[in-house]
C-alpha cells in the first residue's frame, strides 16, 4: 500500500500546484530575475574570469529559488488545516516525507529546466557542452540534498508560528557545504579544464551529504511531523 499512498500524495501536490501555480511561478520569476541581475552585474561591468563565478551564481539562484518552494511545501496542509487528515491516514511517516520530497524535487527540476538555458544564454559557459553528463549528475545529487534537507526542515518549521522566517535561518547554514561542493564542481566543469575526475571528490561529498540527511529524515520524521 505504501507506493499507492506515495503516488496519491505526489499526484495531489502536483495537481494542487497545477491548479494554483503559486509555487512554481514564484520560483520561476525569482530565478529569471536573479539571472538577469547577475548578467548585468558581471558581464556589463566587464568581469574577466567569469567562469570562476558562474558555478556560485547558478547555485545561489537554485538554493534561494528552492527555498521559495520549500516554504510552500506544507502550505495547503497548514493553511487549510488538512494536516490532521494526512496524519490520520494509516501511512508511514517516511512515505509522507518521500512524497513531499519528490514534490519539492519536481518543482526544483522544473525551474532548472528553465534556468539552465537562460544561464547558457546569458553567460555562454565554454566548457558546458563537453561535460553535460557530469553536470547533470552533479545537479541531481545536489538537488536531492536540497530536497531532503529542505523537506525535513520545512516539516519542523511548519509546526512553528514563524515558519516563513525559521526555515531560511535553519536551512541556509546547513546547506552551505552542499552549495560549496556544487558551486565549485560546477565552476570546474564550466571552465572546461577537467573532466569527471576533477569533480569526483565533490560528487562523493554530495552523495554522502544526501545519505546523511535521508537517513536523518528516516530516523526522525515521525517526531518531526508529530505533535
Amino acid at each position: 500500500m505504501g507506493f499507492r499512498q506515495y503516488r496519491a500524495m505526489v499526484r495531489k501536490d502536483l495537481l494542487s500546484e497545477l491548479r494554483t501555480r503559486e509555487t512554481v511561478v514564484a520560483m520561476f520569476l525569482f530565478v529569471v530575475l536573479a539571472m538577469v541581475v547577475f548578467h548585468y552585474a558581471f558581464t556589463v561591468t566587464g568581469g574577466g574570469a567569469l567562469s570562476f563565478y558562474t558555478g556560485g551564481m547558478l547555485w545561489v539562484v537554485f538554493v534561494f529559488g528552492a527555498l521559495l518552494g520549500l516554504n510552500r511545501s506544507f502550505a495547503h496542509e497548514k493553511d487549510e488545516r488538512v494536516l490532521d487528515g494526512l496524519l490520520l491516514c494509516p501511512v508511514d511517516r517516511v512515505t509522507i516525507f518521500l512524497a513531499k520530497m519528490t514534490g519539492n524535487l519536481v518543482f526544483l527540476g522544473l525551474i532548472q529546466i528553465v534556468a539552465v538555458p537562460v544561464f547558457v544564454l546569458f553567460f555562454a559557459p565554454r566548457g558546458m557542452a563537453g561535460h553535460l553528463a557530469e553536470l547533470l549528475v552533479l545537479i541531481v545529487l545536489a538537488d536531492l540534498g536540497i530536497a531532503a534537507l529542505g523537506t525535513l526542515l520545512a516539516t519542523i518549521a511548519m509546526q512553528t508560528r514563524a515558519r516563513d522566517l525559521l526555515l531560511p535561518i535553519v536551512f541556509l547554514p546547513l546547506v552551505i557545504p552542499l552549495v560549496i561542493a556544487a558551486a565549485s564542481g560546477t565552476s570546474t566543469l564550466l571552465s572546461g579544464g577537467t573532466g569527471a575526475s576533477g569533480v569526483l571528490g565533490r560528487l562523493v561529498f554530495l552523495l554522502v551529504y544526501d545519505g546523511v540527511f535521508l537517513v536523518l529524515a528516516y530516523g526522525t520524521y515521525d517526531v518531526a511531523i508529530g505533535e
Binding site: Q5, S16, D84, P90
Partner: protein, 259 residues
C-alpha cells in the same frame, strides 16, 4: 463546584471486574489517560470503555479537554500517561491499525480546497487503501447528495456541503469507530438535519464518540456519557440518560453550550 458549574463530586467511575470484562471486548478503551503540554496538564486520569456499537457523548465546557481526548484516541497526540486501545490495537504497537479503524469528523473538514470533491475522496481512498476506490467514491458522493457537485473544487462548496463531504471522507474506509468533534458546529438548520439523518442511518454500523455542546442531541444519541471539566472526569454514566440525570452535575446546564 468548579468555574464551569460542574459538581466534580459525582464521578461514577466504572470499576472492578466488570470494567475489566468490558475493556477486553471494548471498541475503545482508555486507562488513566493524561496529557500535558509542558507544565500545563490538560487531561488527567481519564478512563472509559465503549463497547462495539456503543455511543459515548462527551460533554464539557470549552477547554475541558474534549478535543484533546479525541485527538489522543485518534493518535494525533501521544498520551503523557495512561494508554488507549482502539479495536483491540494499541497505537504504540500498531498505529496504522488504529488509524484504519478510525473515522474522524471535526469542525475542520480536513479537505483540500483546491481539489474537487471527487479528487479529495479519491485521494483519501488511496491513502486508506480502499478497494475499488472509484465505486466507493461514487457511492459516498451519492449518499451525501453531492454527486452533482463532484467536479467542483471544495473552495466553491457551501459550509454544509463541505461538512457532508467531510462525512463521506470519514466513512470512506468503513471505519469501526467514528470520532466526532462538534460535528454540528457552524452548520445551518438544513445541514444539521442532513447530518442528523446520516448519523441516524449509520448509527448501527459504527462505534461513536461525539464531543458536543448540544446536550439534547448528545443525550438523544448516546448510551454513555462522559463529562469533563478542567481535564478531569466530572461524571461518567452508562445507559440512556435524560437531561434530568445531568441536572445535579450541571447546576447551570446552559453554561455547557456557551462556555
Amino acid at each position: 463546584m468548579t468555574a464551569a458549574g460542574i459538581d466534580t463530586g459525582r464521578t461514577d467511575a466504572v470499576a472492578g471486574a466488570a470494567a475489566t470484562d468490558a475493556t477486553a471486548a471494548a471498541a475503545i478503551s482508555a486507562h488513566g489517560l493524561g496529557k500535558a503540554f509542558g507544565r500545563r496538564e490538560v487531561l488527567h486520569d481519564v478512563s472509559f470503555a465503549v463497547p462495539p456499537g456503543g455511543f459515548l457523548a462527551l460533554f464539557g465546557p470549552n477547554g475541558a479537554g474534549k478535543t484533546t481526548l479525541l485527538r489522543l484516541v485518534a493518535t494525533l497526540l501521544r498520551p503523557s500517561s495512561g494508554n488507549v486501545t482502539v479495536a483491540g490495537h494499541d497505537p504504540r504497537d500498531d498505529p496504522a491499525a488504529v488509524r484504519r479503524a478510525i473515522g474522524f469528523l471535526s469542525h475542520d473538514a480536513l479537505l483540500y480546497r483546491d481539489l474537487t470533491a471527487q479528487e479529495n475522496l479519491r485521494f483519501y481512498a488511496d491513502m486508506y487503501g480502499v478497494a475499488e476506490p472509484a465505486r466507493r467514491v461514487d457511492e459516498l458522493l451519492a449518499r451525501v447528495e453531492l454527486g452533482h457537485r463532484r467536479h467542483d473544487v471544495v473552495a466553491t462548496l457551501s459550509k454544509g456541503m463541505v461538512q457532508r463531504l467531510a462525512i463521506a471522507r470519514a466513512l470512506l474506509h468503513r471505519p469501526a469507530v467514528l470520532l466526532l468533534d462538534e460535528p454540528h458546529a457552524g452548520l445551518d438548520a438544513h445541514a444539521v438535519g442532513l447530518l442528523d439523518g446520516l448519523l441516524a442511518e449509520i448509527r448501527a454500523e459504527h462505534t461513536f464518540v461525539m464531543a458536543t455542546h448540544d446536550v439534547g442531541r448528545g443525550l438523544e444519541l448516546a448510551d454513555q456519557v462522559l463529562v469533563l471539566d478542567g481535564g478531569r472526569v466530572a461524571l461518567q454514566r452508562s445507559g440512556r440518560l435524560g437531561p434530568d440525570d445531568l441536572a445535579g452535575v450541571y447546576r447551570e446546564p446552559a453554561r455547557l453550550g456557551r462556555a
